[in-house]
């Protein structure tokens, strides 16, 4: 029997919005010219890329020339960190990041360690927050780069990015050279203000498919004057900073999606917050031994992340899947590594509790009826799994 899907995994990806798709379609097989070509037919594609860059720049409050279109959030993060590290190594080889970053940042830091860079992974509090004072303390005269995410992809905690930026500015004056500040804003876009001057960042990463744009597309903002060495050579595209023929439909879709997201920022956030709070209150009142992961107030409007004691996250996901509900978990059993979420571990969530985590991320198309359906079936799923669990009789806390 087929039923309709209740999609509650918007932090993983979103559907391309109809207006975005409509804007993209002509650039696949009609306006297919290479933007680098001279003839007028190709210049149409070139203009579409330029116009899109202007639109994105407007949302970020930056110059169009400070933007690089990439293949997504992971490439943006990789390019940002490697680009700054290799360009600024003459001033030092120290990088500061947090222990709750996306793996695109953490694994890039590990890569840079192999090239002699030293990385400080800052701890977070139990809500997943980085303390700006910890950033201040960690900066040495060797520090060249700080990378702290705008909002966490698993637990939704919003970091004090602009406060961290202020601390970095003061410290960089003291040490006598610049310290570039990068933020991975992949989860923040569409939910938070991403004006680069208000945030005070020098580099910022975006991923289009998180805000109803296409997959395989991202943006990297690099402030004019920031140390940066391109990571992909071979052409003059993106002002020699990212070689390769532009993904014209993807770029067009990214700009339209970001424009819509920025225009509906308040109303979308309000809609998501209502549904999120309904979920949080409903789950906490219907199910015992459940913990809300992340910050109680400083969290993304669309993110609800719970730990259910005595059960395993993947089995909850499977139970939900059979009810047509798509969700996600930081549980080990949903990853190839078998390790529980590094984010929950960094927040000090006990390992056993971390195994029972469930992330529900709502979106603009979700309805109250869908949330109520989740509240109707989830208690039964958890209860059934707890009846099977050898741990139920011996509560861990």
């Amino acid at each position: 029997m087929a039923k309709s899907l209740i999609y509650l995994d918007h932090a993983a990806t979103t559907a391309v919005a109809p207006r975005v798709l409509e804007a993209m379609l002509p650039y696949f097989s009609q306006v297919y010219g290479n933007p680098s070509s001279i003839y007028s037919f190709a210049q149409e594609a070139h203009k579409a890329v330029d116009d899109s860059r202007d639109k994105v720049a407007k949302v970020l409050g930056c110059r169009p020339a400070e933007l690089i279109f990439t293949s997504g959030g992971s490439e943006s993060d990789n390019t940002a960190l490697k680009g700054v590290a290799f360009a600024a190594s003459q001033w030092g080889k120290h990088i500061i990041t947090s222990s709750v970053e996306h793996h695109a940042v953490l694994h890039t830091c590990q890569y840079l360690e192999k090239f002699g860079f030293e990385v400080t992974y800052l701890p977070v509090d139990r809500y997943g927050m980085v303390d700006p004072q910890e950033v201040e303390k960690a900066i040495t005269d060797q520090t060249i780069l700080v990378s702290i995410m705008l909002a966490n992809n698993e637990v939704g905690t919003v970091q004090p990015v602009s406060d961290i930026a202020k601390v970095i500015k003061v410290k960089s004056k003291q040490i006598g050279h610049g310290v570039s500040f990068h933020t991975d804003a992949v989860q923040g876009a569409g939910a938070l203000d991403i004006n680069v001057d208000k945030l005070g960042v020098d580099l910022l990463s975006l991923s289009s498919h998180k805000f109803y744009g296409p997959k395989g597309m991202g943006v990297l903002y690099v402030r004019r004057g920031a140390p940066f060495v391109p990571q992909q050579a071979g052409g003059a595209q993106e002002r020699y900073r990212r070689a390769g023929t532009e993904n014209v439909p993807g770029i067009v879709g990214t700009a339209v999606a970001l424009e819509i997201a920025a225009g509906q920022l308040e109303s979308n956030a309000a809609h998501c917050r209502t549904l999120r709070d309904r979920l949080i209150e409903g789950i906490q009142s219907r199910i015992s031994h459940v913990h809300l992961n992340g910050h109680p107030t400083r969290r993304l409007a669309n993110n609800a992340n719970f730990s259910f004691e005595f059960v395993e996250g993947e089995s909850i996901l499977l139970g939900l899947d059979f009810e047509g509900i798509a969700a996600s978990s930081g549980s080990a059993c949903t990853s190839a590594s078998l390790e529980p979420s590094h984010v929950l571990m960094a927040m000090g969530v006990p390992t056993d509790t971390a195994h029972g985590s469930l992330r529900l991320t709502v979106g603009v198309d979700n309805t109250e009826a869908e949330i109520d359906r989740v509240l109707e079936v989830l208690p039964g799923i958890v209860e059934r799994l707890r009846a099977l669990s050898p741990m139920t009789s011996s509560p861990s806390r």
């Binding site: 499977l318 059979f322 078998l338 099977l388 050898p390």
Partner: protein, 148 residues
């Protein structure tokens, strides 16, 4: 204007609703069935042997109970905290054990459990290893109890 086959249907920015079916493409039908309706779940008060095992990395925890009569397993039950594969492997293990002699039970391997489930995804094979572990421990516990 460029013709649009499906975009723009419905209201506002609405996403066309997606259909799903009551199965999970990651797991075999047998795993799905055992997860949905596990066999022999629950504690056994009069067990003759109990085996506990867990995977310290992924956190899955299994407890197997066996009832033995004339060197034969007459009943088996389980309690498991784990993923769908771990629950299905536990359920399948209790089915496989029922009626087996103690010697035959000792010969069950993780591969036997995985095969009986119609295969497991590579990343879930450790669940069947856990099943083999609890069988061994429950048998050890039985032998220890019967010696004392």
């Amino acid at each position: 204007m460029f013709p649009l086959p499906s975009a723009g249907q419905g209201e506002g920015e609405g996403v066309t609703s997606t259909l799903y079916h009551e199965e999970n493409s990651m797991y075999s039908d047998i795993v799905t069935e055992h997860f949905k309706n596990p066999h022999n779940a629950g504690e056994m008060a009069d067990a003759d042997g109990v085996g506990d095992d867990s995977n310290p990395v992924c956190g899955d925890t299994m407890r197997l109970f066996i009832k033995v009569s004339d060197d034969r397993i007459v009943k088996a039950s389980f309690l498991t905290r784990g993923c769908g594969a771990a629950i299905a492997a536990s359920s399948m293990t209790t089915d496989m054990l029922r009626g087996l002699s103690l010697q035959d039970a000792a010969r069950i391997t993780n591969k036997d459990v995985a095969n009986a489930l119609g295969g497991l995804p590579g990343s879930k094979l450790h669940c069947s290893v856990l099943a083999e572990g609890v069988i061994r421990k429950a048998l050890e516990d039985y032998h220890k109890r019967s010696q004392s």
